[in-house]
């Protein structure tokens, strides 16, 4: 059995400490987002059950999908650490783990894209036809499949930035150009959605900004939760 020098042991302890720190950060981040999303979903249950309002229905579904998407996101992050790889595509393609990794990645991309689409539907459903849900579902599945098939950071960057531009454009142009704080929150939510997707798809994308982006992203969800609780009498 090899004997470790004092310096090597210290190095090992420091690396393990950093790994645990990163893991703790992921757990807290996922927990905050999933909890906030589920609180929004269940906090609006009564309003939807009483009114049957389509806008409330899509709004709730957006946050249910966010909760599920962030659950799969954290699963991917834990798997990457467990297998000691940088990206899902780095897992041995001959192993069963690769299939599990790619299925989880597909679910994450599909659910998070659909969450954004439901948020969009909640403000645009009056202008859009009923078939638009089916169209957006198909589009989200296609985006998910592309994410699993192409191992190319540039393609992920182009797809997600393209989606961001389209969705932000629709949000800005919606509601007869009425500007309010909500539009800013929605746009920030969309921006951090893209950053979170790119963080999973492109290894080392966040680098030193990870903590700041996690804090800002959690802040957006907490702001939404606060506004929901304030307006549902939950506060």
């Amino acid at each position: 059995m090899p004997i470790m020098t004092g310096r090597a042991m210290m190095g090992n302890i420091m690396v393990n400490g950093m790994m645990n720190e990163g893991l703790s950060l992921e757990i807290i981040y996922s927990f905050v987002i999933i909890l906030a999303s589920l609180m929004i979903y269940y906090g609006t249950k009564e309003l939807y059950e009483l009114s049957g309002h389509k806008g409330i229905k899509y709004f709730r579904q957006a946050f249910l999908y966010f909760a599920l998407a962030y659950f799969f996101r954290s699963s991917i992050k834990f798997a990457l650490r467990y297998f000691n790889v940088m990206a899902v595509f780095d897992i041995d393609p001959r192993s069963i783990n690769s299939i599990i990794g790619q299925t989880t990645l597909f679910l994450y991309i599909y659910l998070s894209t659909m969450a954004i689409f439901y948020l969009l539907l909640s403000v645009k459903y009056k202008q859009w036809k009923n078939e638009s849900v089916m169209f957006l579902q198909t589009l989200a599945v296609i985006v998910g499949i592309i994410s699993v098939i192409y191992n190319n950071p540039l393609s992920h960057l182009v797809i997600n930035l393209g989606l961001l531009v389209v969705v932000v454009g629709v949000v800005i142009l919606s509601k007869s150009g009425k500007k309010n704080n909500l539009q800013i929150i929605y746009i920030l939510l969309l921006l951090f959605w893209v950053l979170n997707v790119l963080d999973v798809m492109i290894p080392g994308f966040f680098r030193t900004f990870q903590l700041i982006i996690y804090l800002a992203s959690s802040g957006i969800f907490m702001t939404m939760l606060y506004r929901v609780l304030r307006n549902t009498g939950g506060k």
Binding site: T44, E46, L47, L50, S51, G52, H53, G55, I56, Y58, F59, S122, V123, S174, K175, K178, N180, L182, R227, V228, N231, T232, G233
Partner: protein, 88 residues
Amino acid sequence: MAKRGKLEIIKDLLIIVNDSHGRIKTTPLLRQTNLSTTRFKEYYQELINKGLIKEKNNDGKVVMITDKGIKFLEKYSTIVNFIKEFDL
């Protein structure tokens, strides 16, 4: 007079039913809601399906508000404010 939204019509209908204390029949209810017969039938059926009102046979069919209907009236302003707040 501004056109009433769907939720407002439901609220108005429930208020009429609630104020009648379970004594109103469908024909006077239709008259008081200021809706066309076709639209009234649609709303009436929707309210029955959602469990906001129920029918009872006491010397003819009368309409009564349910506990869920009362809850809707209590929460009406919260629902409307929520829809406004989030541009839904």
